[in-house]
Amino acid sequence: MTPPDFNALSDEEFRAEARAFFARHYPPHLRYIVRRARLAEMKQWYLTLSKHGWIAPNWPREYGGMGLATAKMIILLEEQEQYGVSRVPDHGIVQVGPILMKYGSAEQKNYYLPKILAGEHIWGQGYSEPNAGSDLASLVTSAVPDGDDFIVNGQKIWTTLAHDSTHIYLLARTSKEGKKQEGISFLLVDAQSPGITIRPIRNIAGHEEFCEVFFENVRVPQANLVGGLNKGWTVAKALLAFERVNIGSPRRPQYALKRLAQLARAKGLFSDPGFVDKFTALRLDLEDLGSLYARYVDVVKRGEELGQEVSMLKIWAMESWQRLTDLLLETAQEYGGMPGELNIDGAEVDVLSPFYYARPGTIYGGSSEIQRNILAKYVLKLPS
């Protein structure tokens, strides 16, 4: 079905619509989970979103998306956060879809996009390797042409929900000539292909959310190349400006702040000036992040290019988030070493999950150190 034109609604009408939609359809037992939900839990919700045309808010309407303008996109994310709605396995929606719309062939678009919308194809990201983390361009997983195929050999790691994925989008080395960024290609791989082994990795929170993926003489049709041979780096870097801003949104740390406030209230800590001082400093770190975030959102709303300076949003958002969860642990006292949902002085709080899930925030999507390198080089123009 063709989704309605949500942009025709006023912002407030759309907000009410989104709120009502979540209240009507979202499974109550999945509200406010901190970990990354698995496909089995989220499948029904994925299909519900799909059925009502809400699965791809960022896609244009001609591709079956909601075609939301930026302001409405932000409202949707706010309402999602407010109601405690978890992410579906959304790499197909967030990454593969927009990449195919920009770089894919007509056949690729016609084949893959409807299947992403329908929840038939779930995508995992094959970028990082054991020896190519922050220095991603050093990746060595190879794709060698052979007839109509490439033969892929190598290993990918930190592939989120690979064990739930039907497909993997891959950066592979297709040339060893010239700059290392210029010998990389972007491939679409069926995860059922012979020669692929997926092994989940347990994270420190105890969940198996990311995986390592081994490729042993895996045949990938050359028709699955996106954006041309040796152009994969350009394709991978063409992230939507909005995504770069979204990762610096204050929403996630605000959630941790609420948990901390809930715990502090139960323990009567708002009459303890020592606690209030620490709490308020962190609270203002988030309030001020909100001001900085809004400034970049305005840039995107005006349709202007974002510069490299947007990196600072991610640094401040993620590091503030970590400081908050540090204080959550400290405030929980003895409970700060206990996993699971706890009853602390009458407050139901999971102390460790927010703490654990704040850790990788300064690692994924370019570590805080890499972001600082970017700011030093491109914004402060410091010599290297």
Partner: protein, 383 residues
């Protein structure tokens, strides 16, 4: 581009002229040599420069048009405050035109308002606000100074501390308790019974202690009656917190630019020191603090130029003063470290910026104090 940046594009011609005047003043109207020369002198600034500021219209930015001002807003005032502070200008612009002038403009004595504000805008009268008594207290009502009815006038007794812009002030706006509540009085500097003692500030300027001993104030010099004095004083203070933050923003910006430039040119171990990651990341963290300050300042001036409720304005004022004080102190402190030994010398400018940041941070409440005030003003949402 941020609202308080002089580079921002404005639709309005008046505002564009204002912006140009700031750029021109910072480039040519003042320099660090003058700032150094005026350090520790009295009154510590130049009347000629003050008159120039009047000609630019800066003294009347926040003064309503019916009193000879430009009737503009905090957006415009912040441009001037940040711009002049970035050059360490010692003239008491914020203290006189925002704090003292702001209290006068919110009073309920039309005749006096007209007289004082027109003179302020013209540059012929420099007022200072004498309200605070105890360090670390921003409670406008916590005042021991009393005003007793005396014949057809009032008799004031008490002592005021931390009076910004007191050196060279032609008169003081004094807060005092009466039987009916807080009121504001106009006391010319040469009034019998008023004594002024100057205390040096770290940055070479001075602050004042104003003592009032049986000072007689005629009824026509009541600036604000108890009906409006507390609100007038609070609004002037909150606006000044935003402008002091804008000044801090100007100071931190220049100090960080100096530091980053130095990192590009200073060579050790055969390389510019800015190529060392430990220093580069340090500079990035300072840059993030500057950008956070800038974003909050933008939001603050926008809120102050809207019709927001006083409680929201107070919370916002504390938010911006907390961020800018903390960021300004940190950036200027680290500027010394980035420069190394030369940064610790009096002849190098980094120290001047640190000292201005220290006095701006301490003025009207530092970051720690304003975080507490914010916590008291803005309820926590723990749902």
């Amino acid at each position: 581009m941020s609202a308080h940046s002089p580079d921002r594009a404005f639709a309005n011609d008046d505002v564009r002229m204002l912006r140009d005047s700031v750029i021109d003043f910072v480039k040519r109207g003042t320099d660090i040599k003058r700032v150094r020369r005026l350090r520790g002198t009295q009154p510590g600034f130049e009347r000629a420069v003050w008159r120039q500021m009047a000609e630019f219209g800066w003294l009347g930015i926040l003064v309503p048009e019916q009193y000879g001002g430009l009737g503009l807003g905090c957006t415009e005032m912040a441009i001037v405050a940040a711009g002049t502070a970035s050059a360490l200008t010692p003239e008491p612009l914020t203290a006189a035109a925002v704090l003292a002038g702001g209290a006068i403009a919110r009073g309920d004595n039309e005749a006096l308002k007209r007289e004082l504000l027109e003179a302020l805008v013209a540059g012929s009268l420099i007022p200072a606000l004498a309200w605070q008594e105890r360090a670390g207290s921003l409670d406008t009502a916590a005042v021991a100074t009393r005003a007793e009815p005396f014949e057809a006038a009032f008799k004031l007794n008490g002592s005021k501390n931390f009076v910004a812009g007191a050196a060279g002030a032609d008169g003081f706006t004094v807060s005092a308790q009466t039987r009916d509540g807080l009121a504001l009085y106009w006391v010319p500097a040469d009034t019998n019974g008023l004594t002024l003692e100057l205390q040096p500030l770290a940055d070479g300027r001075a602050t004042g202690v104003v003592r009032l001993s049986d000072v007689i104030v005629p009824e026509e010099h009541v600036i604000a009656s108890p009906a409006c004095a507390a609100a007038a004083l609070q609004a002037a203070l909150d606006t000044t917190l935003v402008m002091a933050s804008a000044e801090m923003f100007g100071v931190m910006g220049r100090a960080l630019d100096m530091s980053v430039d130095y990192m590009k040119t200073r060579v050790q171990f055969g390389k510019p020191i800015g190529s060392f990651q430990a220093l580069a990341h340090r500079a990035v963290d300072l840059h993030i603090q500057r950008e956070l300050s800038s974003a909050v300042l933008d939001d603050a001036v926008a809120l102050f130029d809207s019709a927001a409720a006083p409680a929201r304005l107070s919370a916002m004022a504390s938010r911006v003063k907390a961020r800018c004080s903390e960021a300004g102190l940190r950036i200027t402190r680290e500027a010394i470290q980035i420069h190394g030994a030369i940064g610790f010398t009096d002849e190098y400018d980094a120290g001047l910026y640190l000292k201005r940041a220290m006095t701006l941070s301490a003025w009207l409440g530092n970051a720690a104090l304003h975080r507490r005030r914010y916590a008291a003003l803005a309820a926590v949402d723990a749902e």
